[in-house]
């Protein structure tokens, strides 16, 4: 069943294909699947097929190909997927995680204020990615230009593992990275936090992970989407209520899936900067998209993201649970 | 001594060709105005001037000519391995358009398959003809014995001496029992005794099956000993300058005075042709 949601089997059973990453910011997916909360919410007729990915673009690719129904993914891939498909392929239906990105600098780099960023070299994990945009936006806000614009600051999009090595080597002065890398730069390379990205946003919240659904699936089985969100919201609330239990379950799942657990001190430190929420924090997504556009990343025309959210199912679930509905800005 | 050898070997041959062989009986060859010029990027090398030649069914024709005059080229064309630049070749009723197992060329350079041992080299043609495994093994053994290579069935090509390779190639060609044998200096690398013996075997096979044979050699006495006719070629680009019909009775003995005299006459013609042509081209 490619390009369309899975058709029900002869006994009325149906498969829901759920995708996520085995990492911290996807804790809701890890906990929800491990505890069986999702399965419970979906009922016995639905088989939950879990697919694990390494990176957002690959997940979007699979969603495009009709191999994924619901996925946990960061804002950038979601926006790209939406824009590429002319708004047709996917919808954001809930939030999952907020926070968890920082500009870490080397203590001996002499960076005390934004003005000190001049003449320095910074790494970001992906050209045009969320952190890259944040970094460049910060520079721009302080009137600094990057080297390719004739300025003095070098922004070096590199892959996360290389960033750590470079940081350890002193080849870069700082890096704007997501968790757990920010924590590892601090703990393993002696970096210090220059900017916690939460400080850049009102309420200290900004979207890091949210839930998307393929439009085809949403149209075909809105009931299942709603059922899934019931499980999602319940899991978020579980984590909020008992972070300690969630913490060990998350690491257990990471170890089960990748064979390697996160070191506990990294886990503890990283979790302090993260918050789990079903609020998609839509306004922050629009602001991010605006920044990216200003920096020339989203093409020549401001993309129209007005239809990217479909919070109907979420609000239905929230209403059932007696929680406040979420409005779009 | 040669006679004795010949007698001996005729027994081997008798065994080798004992089976009833419907095919393998000679067919006539007709070569009409065949000529050949090799062309590469920036030169044209004429190798053969137009050749006209009729060979009767079961006739044994020997070709003599200076090195590089086009003998091998002519045999290749008759075998259907090389296209002529012009003219046509007829084998029996049909025009030659490619290879066919009724005409088999025995290459000047053995051309054995290095990935096969002697046994399988000899079996190769039989296998192509669809002969069952056991039968072709037996046939191959017979012909390996015929060329005195019993015991070397499992040897690979690089383990053989030059003369042994030539003999394997001979066995391989004879094994498939073609109507026309095109032999390019098949005995060139053999010692006198082996040569005598194999000449005798060849004559015996020919006598038994009446194959049509085109036989290139540089040994004038060999040509006279074997051929019904001997054709003498000019230097490159080759053409037939003289034709000798050899009427000596068979079996012929290399030491026969008549044969030696005939050979001397042909040698003289060969020399004269070479000198003349050499002169013509300013040598």
């Amino acid at each position: 069943g490619r390009g369309a949601p899975a058709a029900p089997g002869p006994d009325g059973s149906i498969t829901l294909r759920l995708a996520f990453f085995p990492n911290l910011t996807h804790a809701v997916a890890l906990v929800g699947s491990a505890r069986g909360t999702f399965q419970e919410a979906l009922g016995p007729n639905v088989t939950l097929d879990l697919k694990t990915f390494n990176a957002g673009p690959a997940l979007i690719e699979a969603l495009f190909a009709g191999e994924i129904d619901i996925g946990y993914v960061g804002p950038n891939p979601a926006i790209n997927g939406y824009v590429r498909s002319n708004g047709q392929a996917l919808r954001i239906i809930a939030g999952a995680c907020s926070g968890g990105a920082s500009l870490i600098v080397r203590p001996d780099a002499g960076i005390a204020s934004p003005a000190d960023l001049a003449g320095k070299t910074f790494a970001t994990p992906q050209f045009g990615g969320t952190q890259d945009v944040a970094m460049r936006h910060l520079l721009r806000a302080h009137g600094l230009k990057t080297a390719d614009q004739g300025g003095t600051v070098t922004v070096l999009p590199t892959q996360n593992p290389e960033i750590l090595t470079l940081f350890q080597q002193g080849a870069i002065d700082g890096a704007w990275v997501p968790e757990p890398w920010a924590t590892r730069l601090i703990q393993e390379a002696g970096g210090k936090v220059f900017i916690d990205e939460r400080s850049q946003w009102p309420d200290g919240s900004f979207v890091t992970t949210h839930v998307i659904v393929s439009t085809a699936f949403l149209n075909a089985r809105p009931d299942l989407v709603e059922a899934f969100l019931r499980g999602h919201v319940a899991t978020v609330r579980d984590i909020q209520e008992d972070p300690e239990a969630a913490r060990s379950l998350v690491n257990q799942e990471i170890e089960r899936l990748t064979s390697v657990p996160l070191p506990s001190q990294v886990l503890d430190q990283a979790l302090t900067t993260l918050a789990f929420t079903y609020d998609p924090l839509a306004s922050t997504l629009f602001v991010m998209a605006g920044h990216a556009f200003e920096l020339g990343f989203l093409g020549d025309e401001q993309p129209d993201l007005s239809g990217i959210y479909d919070l109907g199912p979420l609000n239905a679930v929230l209403a059932e649970e007696g929680l406040d509905p979420i409005a779009l800005p | 001594m040669v006679d004795q050898t010949a007698r001996e070997s005729r027994q081997v041959v008798a065994r080798a060709v004992a089976e009833p062989q419907a095919k393998g009986e000679g067919i006539p060859l007709r070569i009409v105005g065949v000529h050949k010029t090799f062309a590469d990027r920036d030169r044209r090398i004429p190798a053969l001037q137009p050749i006209d030649l009729e060979v009767g069914a079961g006739e044994f024709v020997c070709l003599l000519g200076p090195s590089g005059c086009g003998k091998s080229t002519l045999l290749s064309i008759v075998a259907g391995l090389e296209p002529a630049s012009g003219g046509s070749v007829w084998a029996g009723e049909r025009e030659v358009r490619g290879t066919d197992t009724d005409r088999v060329l025995l290459f000047q350079e053995a051309a054995l398959f290095p990935w096969l041992d002697v046994q399988h080299n000899v079996e190769f043609g039989l296998r192509q003809a669809g002969m069952p495994r056991a039968e072709r093994a037996a046939v191959a053994r017979r012909f390996i014995d015929l060329v005195h290579l019993g015991g070397f069935e499992r040897s690979y090509v690089h383990q053989l001496s030059g003369g042994m390779r030539q003999r394997v190639a001979l066995a391989r060609a004879l094994a498939i029992n073609p109507a026309v044998l095109l032999m390019d200096e098949p005995f060139g690398a053999l010692d006198a005794l082996t040569r005598d013996r194999l000449q005798a075997e060849l004559e015996a096979i020919w006598a038994a099956t009446r194959k049509t044979i085109l036989f290139v050699t540089h040994n004038v006495r060999e040509a006279v000993a074997l051929g019904d006719r001997v054709l003498v070629f000019s230097p490159r680009p080759g053409r037939i300058v003289r034709e000798f019909r050899i009427r000596l009775p068979r079996p012929r003995r290399l030491e026969d005075h008549a044969l030696v005299d005939q050979a001397a006459e042909i040698l003289a013609v060969l020399h004269a042709a070479a000198e003349m042509e050499g002169g013509r081209h300013g040598r």
Partner: protein, 269 residues
């Protein structure tokens, strides 16, 4: 005459000294390499989390094997490799032969091969998902496309470089149709083809490492990726070591004896 070809040369019981010598040399070489590596690692130019020594790496490898992750991963990966390589082999031999022998195919398809071969395996991931979905077959597809062109290239070159004399001899002896390919072209080109097959094998490995990132399962590709994602140099190197060991073993078990036999027959040894 046959009597003199003595077949009773005394065979040593067990491997002879001369046959062992290469292995002794090889062992010495590998030990020396490890010692050098350990030396560099200990010299402290670079911190151990960037350049771990062989002892650390081997320890990680042993641990991984004990926990079973490396074993499971290797088994999963080798299975995919075997299937993918097998398919490329079959396809590559046929296509290589045809392209090598048929001029029109060479001019058209053949001209594309080097271009397609240059494409990194990640390029095939989207197509793989499209055609096969998120499953084994998609990964195997990536492996096949990674190795196929390389094998085609090797076979084709081998075929083209075969002395035409063999073909002439074969036609002359009545070889026709497929027999020409299976009994002449292929064996004649075999020594050259073997090197193409080895190249294809490497391409298959590399493509597998890319293809396994399609989605997450326990496999060498993902163990490598996890190592990288965690910046765990010891794990990365342990996986690398495993790949190299497997590569060397496959070479010694599969390719080397085959090559040796072919060369012996041809008298190339």
């Amino acid at each position: 005459m046959a009597a003199e070809i003595l077949r009773n040369r005394p065979r040593a019981a067990g491997p002879s000294r001369a046959a062992l010598l290469p292995w002794v040399r090889r062992l010495g070489f590998y030990l020396a390499l490890l010692a050098l590596w350990e030396g560099v690692a200990r010299a402290g130019f670079w911190p151990p989390w960037i350049l771990p020594g062989p002892l650390t790496v081997i320890e990680t490898l042993v641990e991984g094997v004990q926990r079973g992750t490396f074993v499971t991963g290797a088994v999963v990966s080798l299975r995919r490799l075997a299937i993918g390589y097998g398919i490329s082999l079959a396809l590559g031999l046929v296509l290589g032969l045809l392209i090598g022998r048929i001029k029109v195919l060479d001019e058209t398809l053949g001209s594309l091969v080097l271009g397609l071969q240059a494409l990194p395996s990640v390029c095939w991931l989207p197509l793989a998902i499209l055609w096969f979905g998120l499953n084994e077959r998609a990964i195997i597809f990536v492996v096949v496309l990674g190795a196929l062109f390389s094998i085609i290239l090797g076979v084709q070159a081998g075929v083209k470089n075969t002395p035409p004399l063999y073909l002439k001899a074969a036609r002359n002896l009545g070889a026709r149709g497929p027999a020409v390919y299976t009994q002449v072209v292929l064996p004649a080109a075999l020594p050259a083809i073997l090197s193409g097959l080895k190249q294809g094998w490497s391409f298959a490995w590399r493509s597998l490492m890319a293809g396994e990132l399609l989605y997450f399962t326990l496999s060498l590709g993902n163990l490598l990726q996890i190592g990288r994602d965690l910046n765990d140099a010891a794990q990365v190197m342990a996986v690398m070591l495993l790949i190299v060991i497997i590569g060397v073993c496959i070479d010694q078990i599969l390719f080397a004896p085959f090559e040796r036999r072919v060369r012996e027959r041809w008298g190339l040894a």
